[in-house]
């Protein structure tokens, strides 16, 4: 099979796996699936425009595990069980009865919050993997023509976001060099004003460029290279959907499938 799958296949694949690991509620399964997916991303998702998404998703997942575990341990209704250690209870007003901040931390509580957060991190990792493997813009482009215009608008809007982030960093650094402190709410003006001007001139430039390239001039719009679904891809999609209902055997099988059938991107480049 060709090196690249249809973006929809990647999303069905990753989406179903995500549903499956949530419904299976098993940490082991989640970890195995994420490992296999990581292998797939490593093999097929390199050098694409969004290839860093998976890494960011993993980092974000780790933060989710940390923060959620911390909050889960500190706040909430006490769960009975073996107490590991105890934190002083923070006094709350009476109308918040039932909620407790601090107190004894039981083993059961610790495991249940960690368990949940690892599964959430797994789901985030899977979405990141789908983004890495198929440019979300390509997914939008395979939408039906009726909502295609909307898709184009979204593509344009999301292309601007990373540029805005870059502008913010650039302006902040420049201000720091000028000897300005840029932390704190009262300093927002120093960044907001140059940023606003930057964004405004950028969007005027963009509008002019689109205008002069004929955007919106013709009523109909054709499409460059319509993505076609290949027959083998239905197999991957079906196996992943099965995984939702019969998790244990199918989840691992369908997570493995792209590794087995899809040609590696690196091989495809050097062959």
């Amino acid at each position: 099979m060709r090196g690249a799958l249809h973006p929809l296949t990647w999303w069905v694949w990753a989406g179903s796996l995500a549903v499956a690991i949530v419904s299976a509620r098993s940490i082991l399964l989640a970890i195995i699936v994420v490992t296999l997916v990581a292998l797939t991303v490593h093999r097929n998702g390199r050098g694409t425009a969004w290839s860093h998404s998976f890494r960011w998703a993993l980092i974000m997942g780790m933060w989710v595990v940390l923060i959620r575990t911390a909050i889960g341990v500190l706040v909430g209704v006490p769960i009975p069980g073996r107490t590991l250690f105890s934190i002083p209870v923070f006094p709350l007003p009476t109308w918040m009865a039932g909620v407790r901040v601090g107190g004894g931390v039981t083993l059961e509580r610790l495991t249940s919050t960690t368990h949940e957060s690892i599964i959430i991190a797994g789901v985030i990792a899977l979405i990141g993997a789908a983004t890495s493997l198929s440019n979300p813009h390509r997914l939008l482009r395979s939408l039906p023509i009726m909502i295609y215009e909307f898709g184009v608008a979204v593509v344009i809007a999301t292309t601007v976001v990373p540029q805005l982030v870059m502008s913010i960093t650039r302006i902040r650094q420049a201000q720091q060099m000028r000897g300005q402190s840029v932390r704190g709410i009262r300093q927002w003006k120093k960044i907001a004003l140059p940023l606003l001007e930057d964004a405004l001139s950028r969007s005027l430039d963009l509008a002019a460029a689109m205008d002069s390239r004929g955007y919106g001039f013709s009523r109909k719009r054709s499409r460059y290279r319509v993505e076609k679904i290949q027959s083998g891809e239905y197999g991957i999609a079906c196996a992943s959907i099965f995984a939702i209902f019969i998790p244990i055997p199918f989840v691992i099988f369908s997570a493995l499938l792209p590794l087995l059938v899809v040609k590696s991107r690196n091989q495809a480049v050097f062959a």
């Binding site: 050098g47 694409t48 425009a49 969004w50 440019n135 813009h137 482009r141 593509v155 344009i156 292309t159 990373p162 540029q163 650039r170 302006i171 650094q173 420049a174 201000q175 720091q176 060099m177 000028r178 000897g179 300005q180 402190s181 003006k189 120093k190 960044i191 004003l193 140059p194 001007e197 001139s201 950028r202 430039d205 963009l206 509008a207 002019a208 460029a209 689109m210 205008d211 002069s212 390239r213 004929g214 955007y215 919106g216 001039f217 013709s218 109909k220 719009r221 054709s222 499409r223 460059y224 290279r225 319509v226």
Partner: protein, 532 residues
């Protein structure tokens, strides 16, 4: 192909006309260069051609602009998309999609071309602009020259008859600029494309131009062949200044022509043994010490094992291709990038853990976009803020600014200043802290010759490190050149030694006068004045 008849243009809320009673025609297959100081309406003239002015910007247009028989008055810019391709000053701002191939197809999709035609044209342009290897790359990951080629390519897929470019080489290193310009030249000759280019760095484009439209400071416009215009224009490349200084009867436009014209003169000079080039060795104390500096981003090394010392009073130019690591080196030096390995000391202190106020007294940094530094609502407000930040007497910054560029009203909004004035404002904000070291990242991008000359005057007397692609600026101003490739120092020496040893980075005068070691018109005049 293009016809302007009695065109005048005035923007709303403005008293001055941008262009007045301009008439000219451009024939098919002509390469026309638009020159003039900044802010005189070069960009407006270019954007009139496809109707972006006034359809997109507003403004009142008198007279008639027509392209291939179609008046821009009657149709919107989109209706001319198949006829006029336009590439803006900053191509990155005009990109709509994220990958090269999609960007090329965007215009064709918008005009509802059938998929098979589209596919063929995209492939064609990928080959024409040598972009085939980059087709699925994300546009933001490309170098400046590659981005410029994508921008030109996405105009060319429409098979336009006219291509309009606004400062296509201002962000490019000399080699990438040459590449882009020779592609344009080929298009003109092979496809008889009409090309209109606005550019400040005449030394790069002048030998390609068939005709020049010169917008003068008094608002009058002259049109003619390069020889006619450059004979007495204020704006001229170094090669023309040399011809004037030597009283040559004809203005030569290329190094080849100029060498022919100056042959007898050069032969005479060879017999005289001249000592030139003030070889400046830093005499003051060592201000910057860098030892074994390495820096990597995401597993790739951008700077590798750089060691250098800069003395007080030196003016150091850092040169190299786009993406060679110039900006990374500057940003490590000023302490924006802190993740480096190795040692950096500015006046004995590491820049990466300085307090903001201490830093501004040690290092002044002007980023690529000087306006990033500014946020005040007026020049006066900006200056008072700088006085307060740097704890100097009220009025110091404004006084400094008036000395650098006289005649800026303190009530002007920084956005309304010209590029050169804005740079001067940023410079005086930074200089009011009296930093020991001044660091500038590509300061001459978008500056015309007079703004450049005034920048040089402003910077004299300081210790300066600047990254730049501008060979002529370096020849004029720097005492030392450091050449970087792939994150390593490949050459480090006096300006004369480094510039003369590289054909691509040699300034025009050096090419003309070779083997005599002169870099600028002034060098030549000095010798001519004493020995002839």
């Amino acid at each position: 192909m293009i016809e302007f008849s009695n065109v005048s243009l005035i923007y709303p809320n403005s008293i001055n006309t941008v262009l007045e009673d301009l008439s000219f025609t451009v024939a098919e297959g002509e390469f026309v260069l638009v020159i003039g100081a900044t802010g005189l309406g070069k960009s407006s003239l270019l954007r009139l051609i496809n109707g972006l002015v006034p359809h997109h910007t507003g403004g009142i247009l008198a007279g008639e602009v027509s392209v291939d028989g179609t008046s821009t008055r009657s149709v919107k810019p989109g209706a001319l998309a198949h006829l006029v391709g336009i590439v803006g000053q900053n191509p990155l701002n005009g990109f709509v999609t994220d990958t090269v191939e999609e960007e090329l197809a965007f215009g064709l999709e918008a005009l509802n071309f059938p998929p098979d035609v589209m596919r063929k044209r995209v492939e064609e342009v990928l080959d024409l602009m040598s972009l085939a290897a980059l087709r699925s790359r994300s546009i933001t990951s490309l170098s400046g020259g590659e981005q410029q080629r994508v921008a030109i390519g996405s105009a060319l897929v429409m098979h336009p008859k006219v291509l309009v470019l606004d400062e296509p080489t201002s962000a490019l290193d000399p080699i990438a600029a040459e590449e882009v310009l020779s592609i344009l030249q080929r298009l003109v000759h092979d496809l008889s494309l009409t090309v209109i280019v606005a550019e400040h760095r005449l030394e790069r484009v002048i030998h390609f131009a068939d005709r020049i439209i010169y917008i003068q400071a008094n608002g009058e416009t002259k049109i003619g062949t390069p020889q006619e215009i450059l004979k007495d224009s204020e704006i001229a490349p170094p090669i023309v200044h040399l011809a004037r200084a030597l009283d040559l009867p004809e203005v030569a436009l290329s190094v080849r022509e100029m060498r022919r014209a100056t042959q007898p003169f050069r032969e005479k000079l060879l017999k005289i043994d001249v000592v030139t080039g003030s070889k400046f060795e830093g005499t003051g104390k060592e201000l910057v010490k860098i030892k074994k500096l390495s820096l990597s981003y995401e597993n790739s090394e951008v700077l590798h094992d750089i060691s250098l010392n800069i003395h007080e009073g030196e003016i150091v130019a850092i040169m190299g291709r786009n993406g060679a690591g110039k900006s990374s080196l500057l940003r490590s030096m000023v302490g924006i990038v802190t993740t480096y390995e190795g040692q950096i000391e500015i006046d004995g202190r590491a820049p990466n853990n300085l307090k903001a106020a201490d830093r501004s007294r040690l290092i002044g940094f002007i980023p690529q976009e000087p306006s990033d530094l500014l946020y005040g609502q007026s020049v006066g407000q900006e200056c008072t803020q700088a006085d307060k930040d740097n704890r100097v007497l009220p009025g110091t910054t404004l006084e400094l600014l008036q000395k650098l560029v006289p005649g800026i009203s303190p009530s002007t909004h920084p956005r309304d200043l010209s590029e050169g004035q804005r740079l001067a404002l940023a410079l005086s904000v930074v200089l009011s802290a009296k930093p020991n070291l001044l660091v500038l990242d590509e300061p001459t991008r978008g500056l015309d010759y007079s703004a450049k000359a005034s920048l040089i005057n402003q910077l004299r007397g300081h210790t300066v490190v600047l990254a730049t692609h501008d060979v002529e600026l370096v020849a004029e101003f720097a005492t030392r050149v450091i050449f970087i490739a792939e994150g390593e120092i490949v050459a480090d020496g006096s300006t004369i030694d480094v510039l003369l040893s590289s054909p691509a980075f040699a300034p025009q005068i050096a090419k003309v006068m070779s083997p005599s070691p002169w870099l600028t018109v002034n060098d030549v005049i000095k010798v001519v004045g004493t020995s002839l």
